[in-house]
Each structure stands twice: as C-alpha cells, then as structure tokens.
C-alpha cells in the first residue's frame, strides 16, 4: 500500500465552466500533502478528482491525467468503483451511516467485498478502530449507533471506516472544520501516525494545521472572479511557510488576503 500519485495538466469543469485549470503535481507515498488556498480556489475539487468522486456531481468532468503508481485512473478501462476502493476519503462533515452500529460502520466497506468469517471481521474492525485512536472509547458499545458519538469521535469513526478496506491513499477534505479544538488535535495526532502507512492528502482552511501536519504543501489560488483556480506552487511545507517562491503565496501566508 501507500502509492504515489502523479497529476499532469488536470482541468476540472462543471458543465462549461472551468473551475480548475492545468494542475500538475506529484504526491509522494507515505507523506502528508496539504492543499491550502482561499475559498473557491478549487482545492477540494482537485482532491475529489483524485478518487473520481467529483464525477458524482451532475455535469462535472475533467481532463488531464491522474496516475496512481503509474496507472491512469481515468483510462476508459478503469472502473471508478475500484478507484474509490483504492483511494479512501474522509469528508468535511462526519458522515457515519446513521442506521448502522459503530461496528457495522467500520465493516461496511469490507462487507461489500464479499462474506468473511465473523472472527476475521472482528479483528479488522478492532485494528481499524485502534488505528483511528477510537478503540478505547467505543470498545464497550460497538453495537450502539454510530450517530450517537460526538463529532470528533464520529470523524475518527469515518477514518476507521476508510482505512478498514486498506486503501493505498487517504484523502481528507477539511476533516477538522466541523470539530472543536480538542477533537481537531486528536485528528492531527492521528494523521501523524497514519502517514507511516498511508499516502495522505488533506485539504484545509487552517494554515497552522497545514504547517503542523504536512510534509508538503500546495497553494491554490484564483486569478480573479469567474476565472479558473490554479495551483500556484507546491513545495516542502517548511519552504512554503518560510520562503515561498511566489509572491501570491507569501501574501496569502502572511494574511494579506484570503
């Protein structure tokens, strides 16, 4: 697991409107890459093209190449369902299945792939919950509904659900924006631990968070209203936050706009 992603000349459209233009970047395996930028700059759209989730929005399409360890995930022979299996996703708002128990939420992806013996399932559920730093808090109430947990717990449950199917890459779309500071800290700790095994891409509004958790940071920006968003630069996080190559990045980092 933990594959690399190569994006070349990616453009994203909603109908005729071009939302993002000409993005090229490389994401290293076992690293955390953060996407930052002002609202509407297309960073979430780019994230969602990485596992072909953007195409579930009616009218959305894209051009360019996205390679997962050299394999083009947009080639006609590729099944988007398999892509999403290989590249898991955690959303802005925690979204556990409301009618399922904690246990069933974690096992949901596994059960799709066919029957497994209950013991094996138990084992994977426990490992995934431990990996999401949630096991100690829920081990006595695995059969209770997932919707009964706190927001931060729900988000860790969603992370456990995503990693239970053993993806190559984990995409996180502003995973902490709906959480309180303590839950945010817990998720950030978790990201630090998960990167030993996973390639992680995280979209965040919070520059301190990008600085804290990521190895590399990409800055996206809009040229103007109605213009497509672009990737301004991507570099080591330390470099981006101390000595960026582009003036726009520096302006954004130092809070001059956005």
């Amino acid at each position: 697991m933990a594959k690399s992603i190569d994006v070349s000349d990616l453009s994203i459209y909603y109908g005729k409107f071009c939302a993002v233009q000409g993005v090229s970047l490389t994401i290293e395996p076992r690293s955390v890459t953060a996407f930052i930028g002002p609202s509407g700059c297309g960073k979430s759209s780019v994230l969602r093209t990485l596992n072909r989730m953007h195409e579930v929005v009616p009218g959305a399409w894209s051009s360019g190449k996205v390679l997962l360890d050299g394999e083009d995930i947009y080639s006609p022979s590729v099944d988007p369902v398999n892509v999403r299996r290989a590249i898991g996703m955690v959303f802005q708002k925690p979204n556990p299945f409301p009618t399922m128990s904690i246990y069933d939420n974690v096992a949901a992806g596994l059960k799709l792939q066919g029957r497994r013996p209950r013991r094996e399932l138990d084992e994977i559920v426990e490992r995934s919950l431990r990996a999401a730093n949630l096991w100690e808090e829920v081990k006595d109430r695995l059969e209770r509904p997932g919707a009964g947990l706190s927001g931060g717990q729900q988000q860790r449950l969603c992370i456990a659900r995503a990693i239970a199917v053993e993806p190559e890459v984990l995409l996180m779309d502003e995973p902490c924006s709906a959480l309180d500071p303590i839950s945010t800290l817990a998720i950030e700790d978790l990201i630090e631990q998960l990167k030993e095994h996973y390639t992680i891409v995280i979209v965040t509004h919070n520059m301190q968070q990008a600085a804290r958790v990521s190895d590399r940071t990409g800055f996206f920006n809009l040229a103007g209203v109605g213009q497509p968003g672009r990737l301004i630069e991507i570099d080591n996080t330390q470099r981006i936050f101390s000595n960026p190559a582009e003036k726009a990045t520096e302006d954004y980092i130092s809070g001059r706009f956005g």
Partner: protein, 355 residues
C-alpha cells in the same frame, strides 16, 4: 492519546496485487445479449404456448435479464453482475408502471374516440334505448361540472381557512388534533363519505337524492386534499416576509391576507386544481346520492342529476355493445377533463416557478 501499537492492516499483503481496471462489458456485448434473448424467446415460443405480444415481451425481458446477469457474473464478477441486475430491474419496474397508463389512454381513445362528435357532447341519453345508437353525455358533463364547482365553492374556503389556522395560528393540542383529523379525512374511503351523507341527507333528513347531496360527499373528499396542499405552500413562505410586514406595523390578519397568501397563491391554485380533478372522477358516492336520470337537469338542488362517472358505470354494466361503446365514449370525455385539469395545474406550477 493512545499510541498506535498494532500494525495497520495489510501493510505487506496488498501492494502490487490490486489493479484498478476490472474487466467490463462493452455495449456491443449487451446488444448481443438482447438479440440473443429475442432469438431464444422466438425459439421457446414454438414449444410453449405463450399467448399474445405481452407474454412475448415479458419472456424476452426475463431471458435478457438472466443472460445479462450470467455474462456479467462471468466477466465482471458478482458485485457488478448484481449492480447490472438491479439497474435493469429498476428500469423494468418503471416501464411496467408506465404500461397501464399507456394502455388505459390508448384503449379509451381507441374505443371511445369514434363516438366523439357534436351530438355526443350536446345531447343527453333521454329516450335512447339500450340498443339504440346516438344520444350523448351532455347531461353528465353538466352534472359533473356543477357538482365539482359546488364542491369547490364549499370546500375551498373551509380548507384554506383551516390551512391558515394550522400554519399561522395553530399551536398546542388543538392544532395537533386538527392535523391528525385532516390525515384521517384523507384516508376516508369515498364510499364511506357517500354512506355518511346518505345517512344524514336521505335517511335522517328525509331529503331527496340530488346533485347537491353528491356535492356534499365530494366536499368531504376534497377538503383534506386542499388543506394539505395549501398548508405545504404556506409553510414555504419565508418567515422573513412575515417579519418584514410586522416590523412595519401591519396587523397579523392583513399580513396573512396581503403578504403570505398572495405569495403562495400559484401553489395553492395548483393544489386546488388537483383536488378538483380528483373529485371529478369520484364514482362511489354518486352511486348512493345522485339518483338516476338520463335527462339534462341544470338544477343540482332538486331531482336526480347525472354525472360522467355515473354514466360510465351505468353503461359499462349493460350487456349490449352499444351501451359499452357509450361507456368508453363517456370515459374519454371524463378523462380528457381530468387530464386537462391536471396538466393545467402542473403547467401553472411550472410557470410560477420559472417566472
């Protein structure tokens, strides 16, 4: 914070083995399956006595479903085979649901269309014997329109006031009780509504059957429809409009009459038209309440009055072909009236949304 002690699952097991591109079926393959299904159906029909085109279509569809699932299972695997099976089944369900609508409209036009002419629309069945041809349904058109209009006249004010009460005033147990009873009214079978008016009007008060007696039963059936739709529309009016009005010192009742209701009016009218269309086609209460006549009666308050659904019912129950043809002809007139009201209501709703 707990520390990651157990190794994350599958760190060594999966890399390199997973591939993104599963084998998928091509469109051409599915077309082939379809052709094959038709061929197999043709073959099967020479052995088994499947009768009629409906049987053939159903059989071909079943053969296609099986063939597609088996091939998909072999090529794409269990999950995709199931996905295709469900997709095809869902499309088939929709087609199956549309089948009766198409068949009813086609049949009514085919059997009744030949009858529609000036005479049919402007004459009654007075002095027309069962085996005679000729005559018309004018008496039914008059009755149906008058009864629907009267029912609207009674039920619209009552229903709209009730809806306004529920949205603008209703709080506490009384409002909950009214909501509950409106729900109950929605479920009253039309024959029970007819039976009730029959009990009161004919048995208790000793009054004669008439168009107006039927109107009362139709009113009971129409009120809940209009209350429901009006309520929904009033709830859609944003509270900010009401507050803007209150902030200018406009009293509540004028706010409701001049701001809230006018804003919701297109939706309310749509709901009313659908309600009218609904009661126009009601038959069961009319059986008990209209009395029988084949003559024109413009006065709904005295003497029996005909109605289109009643004519359909009466003529369909007779054994001779002339009557049955008349049943189809009256059905065509009735269905055109009802569908026009329905389409008009939809068009109105659409118009007011896009403008």
């Amino acid at each position: 914070m707990s520390i990651l002690k157990t190794p994350v699952p599958g760190a060594s097991t999966l890399s390199g083995t997973s591939t993104l591109s599963g084998a998928r079926l091509r469109r051409g393959t599915l077309a082939l399956v379809a052709v094959g299904a038709i061929a197999v159906t043709g073959l099967l029909e020479t052995f088994t006595p499947v009768s009629g085109w409906a049987g053939s279509v159903l059989m071909a569809a079943a053969v296609y479903l099986v063939g597609q699932t088996v091939i998909s299972f072999l090529v794409e695997g269990r999950r995709h085979a199931l996905d295709r099976l469900v997709t095809t089944a869902v499309y088939a369900a929709f087609a199956l649901a549309m089948l009766p609508l198409g068949a009813v409209l086609f049949k009514v036009v085919q059997r009744g269309g030949g009858l529609i002419n000036g005479t049919f629309l402007t004459h009654s069945l007075r002095n027309i014997g069962p085996t005679d041809t000729g005559g018309g349904v004018y008496h039914g058109i008059v009755g149906t329109l008058e009864q629907a209009a009267l029912a609207s006249l009674i039920s619209i004010p009552l229903a709209m006031l009730t809806a306004i009460y529920l949205v603008e005033y209703g709080r506490g147990w009384f409002a909950r009780l009214v909501t509950f009873f409106v729900d109950v009214m929605t479920g009253v079978p039309s024959i029970v509504a007819g039976l009730f008016i029959f009990t009161v009007w004919v048995l208790m008060l000793g009054l004669n059957r008439s168009g107006f007696a039927a109107t009362l039963a139709l009113t009971i059936l129409m009120i809940p429809i209009v209350v429901r739709s009006t309520e929904e529309m009033l709830k859609l009016v944003p509270d900010s409009l009401r507050e803007a009005s209150y902030a200018l010192g406009v009293p509540k009742w004028r706010t409701i009459l001049k701001v809230v209701v006018p804003t919701a009016v297109p939706g309310i009218v749509t709901g009313i038209m659908l309600g009218v269309a609904r009661v126009m086609g009601e038959t069961a209460p009319l059986l008990l309440l209209n009395g029988f006549t084949s003559s024109i009666n413009f006065d709904p308050f005295s003497g029996p009055q005909a109605a289109l659904p009643l004519i359909v019912w009466d003529q369909a129950g007779r054994p001779n072909p002339q009557s049955i043809t008349r049943a189809w002809g009256s059905a065509l007139v009735l269905i055109v009236m009802v569908l026009l009201l329905n389409l008009g209501a939809r068009a109105l709703a659409r118009l007011s949304r896009t403008r």
